[in-house]
């Protein structure tokens, strides 16, 4: 029964839709565009001229009442409003005709809400807020639509609770007021009210009388002259013509201009069925007041909506991301933990400490190139001489066929008068992530330790940690400190102190003086330190020392949109990869806030300046009474003093995740329909037509999805456990298998089983449901990873099986190839090429991260993304069996079940 079916978004259809827009709608859109372009130039402020400002509203300026809907704040505002307005307005016009719309929208429908708004704003609120934008119209139209829907089916049944459908715009109103900044709640409300009134038909008397319109049309022969003109007569059969509720078969001639989208017959199919079902079902006379979710479910429009809805979600989710750097969406950073008092203390580090620093630097340089143990042997007496308690720790990690071993040296400066309850950590790795010798960092750390020893004000112990490398060493030490280590590989710590309250790592590998400071803050698996820590370091460095601060390797940052965006995206990429970016990274998973300070650039700041920054930060941490808990843990930094908090950015990831869920639900409903319909046609008495939901054959689809998930363990294990040399060949072979596997599987499915379209729908439904579920849980743990995977997997929610037809073979191949382009392997390869890395090193780093720091990104890629992709590929290559077979098959299944029952 099913015929070619590409429910995905096709540009062709979109173009067709645009071309079929009626006249007035076009005019309005054109006007909006025009005014926006006008707004671009500077010497005449359109917004000031056209906006609806209550106080400026005099007799001479009444034009504002009609101009404000066309004028918008910025391009996004205009775009969104246009997007929302077009379908609504188009429907309105195609129903009432162009002239009427013209009259109404330049008359009451604009002025009434405007007057309402002005009245309330001016005389009740005594405020004077300018409003502009077509959103007021949107709400007018929504109100009317809502009333209409309410007349058709009054209730939406959720649980056992009947929600009147006319309330839906109110929900939207609230959402908009809550989510969109600087949106005028009052204006929208006014629009909505007018919409309701109009929808209830109390404004009919305002509409121009029909015969006048006819007369005008006749005289001017508008129909002939104007293209896309909607005549007064066309509205006589309104778009209710196709509603199943009124029993008449849909007149195709009307379906074309009035449907938002042309209806391929295969999609009209369910509607027809549902509606003929209604004939044999509720012969008692279908009442318009029937209230049920099933009722809504039968509405063909509802069935056709989801792909577009989920597409909208993906688009909005992506666009949202690009809105974030704007001033309206991001916020200035501020320090919410008052105890920190950054930069409030004098820092005395310097003077003769520089002599000491030079001496230690000589010592360190002498040790360059020596073995780890030799280095510790000669550093330990120095630290002991400062009066600190020292200890060592061995560790050995095996990853990707290599061994990462070493020995940590650490020392505890016991707080005078203090008790071993809390501690701060000062980390200096012998070599940084780029494997450069930390030639200035180590001596600086030693000098600082000696300097700190002289102070009596420390309320917390200070732990000096010297590690051989930047990743494994700190990880081993932190694990052992919290007894989360594997004793066979990592030795326990002989010496411990209290709770770690914070850690600061010094990575000063460059020779000579520096210009400004680079703060590295990403933790393992995308966890971030408390924003207060970063803020206080920034304010100490800039406010007190006058050292500039950079984030995410943005050496130059002119605080404009482009740089903000780039900073944010880099941050998100780092977060998504979830690798350790410095010695501090390993601390963060244990709820120890930490950052790495890395000087860069050629400037006049010397080591003592960095030392004073560290001193200031330690003094701030020392002030802490409670563990840092006030400020944000989920944020995106886009400038040293600008950030977006979770409330603002999470929706984008959630929208992307939600699109999968929506498609899953839609497919579920759809599978129920087609099958129920099929059986209803086949033998309509055995099954109960009212509910198809129970008649699905779930076992096979579930089996397929489970198979995909189980298979996914194989690549995860292989890529994490083969030696480094074997990684590249393994990757190549796996990529080849990856392309070959789906065809083979689908061939098996097609030959061995009789998979119907409905069952393919179910396969896709389940895999999408799982994907959406994983991603939405992941979004709370690692936002960026969830968003990246979600966007890469977005195509999966739009693929549909092709049905056997002469042309479908090519389409299928093309689609499969396209889908292969977004397969995990392909994306990995592309990324490696783009950043000019070789695949081998990428895979090795992943394996090392997996074994050492416990990065779970590989799990997400192989066990969440890959199975979903596999299922999608299967869908594309599907050869569904005819539905009649399915009916028999499913009956057979139940028969089999009965057989079991009898067997007992």
């Amino acid at each position: 029964m099913p015929t070619p079916n590409v429910a995905g978004f096709s540009t062709l259809r979109a173009r067709a839709y645009l071309f079929r827009l009626p006249l007035f709608t076009r005019a309005v859109l054109a006007a909006i565009g025009l005014f926006w372009i006008l707004g671009v130039q500077v010497w005449w402020d359109v917004r000031a001229w056209g906006a609806l400002v209550p106080d400026k509203l005099g007799f001479a300026t009444l034009y504002r009442l009609n101009t404000f809907p066309f004028i918008h704040l910025n391009v996004f505002h205009a775009l969104m409003n246009a997007l929302a307005l077009t379908p609504l307005l188009e429907r309105f016009e195609s129903e009432y005709g162009t002239l009427t719309s013209l009259a109404l929208f330049f008359g009451p429908l604009t002025t009434l809400p405007a007057f309402m708004y002005v009245a309330v704003e001016k005389w009740i609120l005594r405020a004077d807020t300018a409003v502009m934008g077509a959103s007021m119209w949107v709400f007018v139209l929504l109100g009317m639509e809502a009333i209409r829907t309410y007349k058709a089916n009054p209730y939406l049944v959720v649980g056992t609770h009947h929600i009147p459908t006319w309330t839906t715009p109110i929900a939207l109103l609230l959402c908009v007021a809550a989510l969109v900044p600087s949106s005028s709640f009052l204006g929208h409300l006014a629009g909505l009210l007018v919409g309701y009134i109009c929808g209830l038909g109390y404004l009919k008397f305002l509409a121009p009388p029909e015969r006048v319109l006819r007369w005008v049309e006749g005289k001017l022969n508008l129909l002939g002259r104007l293209p896309h003109y909607v005549s007064v007569d066309q509205k006589t059969y309104g778009r209710f013509g196709v509603l199943p509720s009124s029993g008449s078969p849909p007149p195709t001639s009307v379906a074309l201009p009035l449907y938002p989208y042309p209806v391929p017959e295969h999609q009209a199919q369910p509607s027809r069925e549902s509606f003929c079902e209604e004939h044999l079902g509720t012969a008692a006379g279908q009442d318009a007041k029937i209230t049920s979710a099933l009722q809504l479910r039968r509405d063909p429009r509802i069935l056709k909506l989801p792909p577009y809805l989920s597409l909208l979600f993906v688009v909005v989710g992506a666009v949202w991301l690009f809105l974030l750097p704007l001033d309206q969406y991001s916020r200035r950073t501020y320090i919410s933990e008052n105890a920190l008092l950054p930069g409030q203390v004098h820092t005395y580090f310097g003077g003769s400490d520089q002599n000491v620093f030079r001496a230690y630097k000589h010592e360190v340089n002498a040790l360059a190139g020596k073995s780890n143990v030799e280095i510790n042997n000669s550093l330990e007496p120095i630290v002991k001489g400062l009066g600190l308690k020292t200890a060592r720790q061995n560790f050995t990690y095996h990853a990707a066929g290599r061994t990462y071993a070493g020995e940590n040296l650490y020392a505890i400066l016991q707080a005078p008068r203090g008790d071993a309850t809390e501690a701060i950590v000062l980390v200096a790795a012998w070599e940084n992530v780029k494997h450069e010798l930390n030639r200035n960092g180590i001596p600086l750390a030693l000098t600082l330790a000696r300097y700190f020893k002289r102070w009596s004000l420390w309320s917390k112990d200070i732990i000096l940690l010297l590690t051989p490398d930047s990743i494994a060493g700190p990880q081993a030490w932190v694990d052992a400190y919290h007894d989360a280590h594997d004793p066979s590989r990592v030795a326990s710590l002989p010496l411990k102190s209290g709770l770690l309250q914070g850690a600061i790592a010094i990575d000063y590998a460059q020779e000579g003086r520096f210009e400004s400071l680079h703060i590295v803050y990403d933790g393992v698996n995308g966890q971030l330190p408390n924003l207060d820590l970063i803020n206080s370091v920034v304010s100490i460095a800039r406010g007190q020392m006058g050292i500039d601060v950079a984030l995410q390797e943005m050496w130059r940052h002119s605080d404009d949109y482009k740089d903000r965006l780039r900073t944010m995206l880099r941050g998100m990429l780092k977060q998504g990869l979830g690798l350790a970016s410095g010695p501090h990274s390993s601390f963060i998973p244990y709820h120890v806030d930490a950052v790495t300070l890395r000087p860069f650039g050629e400037g006049w700041q010397d080591e003592m300046a960095l030392g004073r920054v560290v001193e200031g930060s330690f003094r701030s941490l020392n002030n802490l009474l409670e563990h840092l808990h006030q400020s944000f843990f989920f944020y995106l930094l886009m400038h040293r003093e600008r950030f977006v908090s979770i409330g603002t950015y999470l929706p984008s990831a959630m929208l992307v995740a939600a699109n999968f869920t929506i498609m899953a639900i839609a497919l579920w409903v759809k599978s129920g329909h087609s099958e129920g319909g099929g059986q209803a046609t086949a033998d309509s008495k055995t099954v109960t037509p009212a509910n198809h939901a129970a008649e699905r054959d779930l076992s096979l689809p579930l089996g397929v999805v489970t198979l995909c998930q189980v298979l996914s363990v194989i690549p995860l294990y292989l890529f994490n456990h083969v030696p480094e040399s074997a990684l590249t060949p393994l990757f190549i072979t796996f990529a080849l298998l990856n392309t070959l596997l789906p065809p083979v599987l689908s061939h098996l499915l097609a030959t061995k089983t009789t998979f119907t379209l409905a069952q393919y729908d179910l396969v896709q439904c389940f895999s999408l449901l799982l994907l959406g579920m994983f991603l939405s849980s992941l979004a709370t743990l690692n936002f960026s990873l969830a968003l990246i995977i979600g966007l890469l997997a977005a195509p999966l929610s739009f693929v549909r099986p092709f049905s056997p037809s002469p042309t479908s073979g090519l389409k299928r191949i093309a689609c499969a190839v396209l889908l292969n382009a977004v397969s995990p392997t392909a994306v990995l390869l592309a990324g490696a090429l783009y950043w000019r890395l070789d695949v081998r090193s990428v895979l090795r780093d992943a394996a090392v991260a997996w074994h050492v720091t416990g990065t779970y990104s590989p799990v997400v890629v192989w066990c969440v993304w890959w199975p979903a992709w596999l299922a999608g590929q299967l869908i594309v290559l599907a050869r569904p069996a005819p539905a009649s077979a399915s009916a028999r098959r499913s009956n057979g299944a139940w028969a089999g079940d009965d057989g079991k029952v009898k067997g007992e």
């Binding site: 008397f205 001489g385 005078p416 309850t421 102190s497 709770l499």
Partner: protein
């Protein structure tokens, strides 16, 4: 209460008559200051004040040396023996060696109080304990009154009475022990402490005591011990002993008070190791261990000793200095220096009115040559019997573990001791997870480590956990004692204002038992050495404190939804969708619509007429 008094009175009377020769010499007053330089430029100063009062005088309420305020409290609360400790900081056993007084005169961080009360029943003892803590908190300006039932325990093995108690009273004496780890000891505790002294800190060694120095010390402990002493053949006396031990950082306390900030010294004053090849005017490898070996009383304490307390018994010298004889010490004239035969300490007799000043010179180079750097010219600290270090294991706010590392340094003799923990009730410990293992040995050796456990589990909101473990550590070995616990979440009203700081856990008390002596009368064995671990900070899971109303609303809504749904389904009857009357909002709006229509009709008619 009254018959209680009479009871005490009787018992005391019996004591006094039992003693034959009332000797007046026992009601005298000693005070002594012992100074002992420690490695890493630290200085241990331990002040000791001791005075006796015969019971007859005590009963007759004529207190010569015994502080009246305290005496009244003791009588009121029926206290037979009292020990009170205010402590701050930690004793660094690795570098400073054994503790002063074998740890008998110190407490864990915060305030510690234990006393033997005379009472017939536990309830009576609790009541007296309440009286005692409240009175003492008033006397010492410390929040001792917060020692409530959840912070009070009754140790079984750890503490033995120090005084001599007649068997008649031992039977109904109750030991209660309370500790406040979060209490911050400060000057307001020192002032009342000095007020108890006969000379009130106006004369004698007490003149050196001043808040700034005392509370800038790296470690300090104030102790008050009151116990009855019955010398053989003498009248029983009530002895009060006040002790202050502090470890000063010489370098820090030598800083002038007007400028305490440790600015880096000018380059040329920096002690450098000139042997380094790269040594030059701007490059200096520090040689800190040489510094700060020379000091004087006025430098360290900011003042000199103003004569001696006239009440003090003149036979024993008020000031002693434990330092090798090789070091030369200059003293103000009129003071007599008496060197001990052991060549390691010397004492000073001070004329009653003269000021006493003492200057210790830096060690000569041959000293520096023969001793290890960092410990030049000071006595080698004697190694303690046991090193103990306690820390938390695990992370997260759900559960954790406690790990105590006990190291026995002596090569030949094993140490037997009682390890006592008093834990708050919201740390639910799992005793079955407690295990002791020797580092580097197999499980076979671990069996005999723990010999006896006395455990009183916590009751929620009623009492804390009390755990006493008698165990042994073999010679030259390290033992790990570990157990798991679970952090319970409290009601939001039970959290302190700084909930996210965490909750302090009192120090563990380790009492090393006298190995060769057999059990004495009291059934316990005398302690030879006591040490305390550092206290811990335990962070509990916290609810959102701003949420009460929201939570009540949300939960109630959820329950209402569920209940409403089921209720609807149960009570309503089914009809076909097109049957039955129209109900709900639809009907309402319908009626409303009708009304409005009528209204509009009338309006329109009126407009039509016009």
């Amino acid at each position: 209460m009254r018959q209680l008094f009479s009871l005490i009175f009787l018992s005391l009377l019996s004591l006094s008559v039992s003693s034959v020769h009332p000797s007046s010499s026992s009601s005298d007053y000693h005070e002594q200051l012992v100074l002992r330089p420690l490695p890493l430029s630290a200085l241990l100063a331990s002040f000791n004040f001791r005075s006796n009062t015969t019971f007859s005088e005590f009963e007759a309420r004529n207190f010569r040396l015994f502080p009246r305020s305290l005496a009244q409290i003791l009588q009121h609360a029926g206290t037979r023996e009292l020990h009170l400790r205010f402590s701050l900081g930690r004793w660094d056993a690795e570098s400073w060696g054994a503790r002063p007084w074998d740890g008998a005169r110190e407490g864990g961080t915060g305030v510690e109080l234990w006393a033997w009360l005379e009472a017939d029943t536990d309830e009576e003892a609790d009541h007296k304990w309440l009286i005692l803590t409240n009175a003492l908190s008033g006397l010492f300006c410390a929040s001792l009154n917060f020692i409530d039932a959840t912070r009070t325990t009754r140790p079984v093995m750890s503490f033995q009475p120090e005084g001599d108690h007649p068997n008649s009273t031992v039977t109904n004496m109750h030991l209660l022990y309370g500790v406040l780890p979060h209490e911050v000891v400060c000057t307001e505790n020192l002032t009342p402490f000095l007020k108890l002294l006969p000379c009130k800190g106006k004369a004698g060694i007490a003149t050196l005591l001043d808040g700034h120095k005392l509370f800038d010390a790296s470690w300090q402990s104030m102790a008050i011990d009151i116990r009855p002493i019955c010398p053989s053949g003498g009248e029983c006396v009530l002895q009060i002993e006040q002790t202050i031990d502090m470890v000063l950082d010489i370098e820090r306390s030598k800083r002038p008070r007007d400028n305490p900030i440790p600015r880096p010294p000018p380059g040329h004053e920096l002690p450098c190791d000139t042997s380094k090849p790269y040594h030059s005017h701007d490059t200096c490898f520090p040689a800190d261990y040489k510094a700060n070996q020379d000091w004087s009383l006025s430098q360290v304490f900011g003042k000199t000793i103003k004569g001696t307390c006239p009440l003090m018994d003149p036979t024993n010298p008020p000031v002693c200095l434990q330092i090798p004889d090789s070091r030369t010490v200059y003293i103000s004239d009129g003071v007599v220096e008496k060197k001990n035969p052991d060549r390691n300490s010397r004492c000073f007799d001070i004329p009653p009115t003269a000021d006493f000043e003492m200057v210790v010179t830096p060690p000569s180079d041959d000293d520096a040559a023969q001793t290890s750097p960092g410990a030049v010219g000071v006595l080698q600290p004697e190694t303690p019997l046991l090193y103990a270090e306690r820390s938390f294991t695990g992370h997260g706010q759900e559960r954790g573990g406690v790990q105590t590392i006990l190291r026995n340094p002596s090569p030949d003799r094993e140490v037997e001791f009682v390890y006592m923990e008093t834990l708050p009730w919201f740390m639910r410990i799992y005793l079955h997870t407690m295990e002791a293992r020797i580092a580097g040995h197999n499980a076979a050796h671990n069996a005999s480590l723990i010999q006896q456990v006395s455990y009183r589990p916590a009751l929620d909101r009623a009492r804390g956990t009390q755990l006493e473990v008698r165990m042994r550590v073999p010679a030259a070995s390290t033992v790990f004692l570990t157990y798991d616990f679970e952090k319970s979440i409290l009601r939001y009203t039970e959290y302190p204002p700084d909930a996210n700081r965490g909750f302090d856990v009192a120090a563990a008390v380790i009492t090393i038992l006298n190995s060769n002596a057999d059990k004495d009368a009291a059934g316990g064995r005398s302690a030879v050495y006591t040490l305390r671990t550092t206290s811990l900070l335990c962070s509990l899971p916290t609810p959102d404190f701003s949420m009460p109303y929201n939570v009540i609303i949300f939960t109630s809504t959820a329950i209402a939804l569920a209940f409403g749904g089921m209720f609807n389904i149960i009570v309503r009857r089914f009809v076909a969708a097109d049957e039955g009357p129209e109900v709900g909002l639809g009907a309402l709006t319908g009626r409303l619509k009708g009304r409005l229509n009528g209204l509009l009709e009338r309006l329109r008619r009126r407009t039509g007429n016009k």
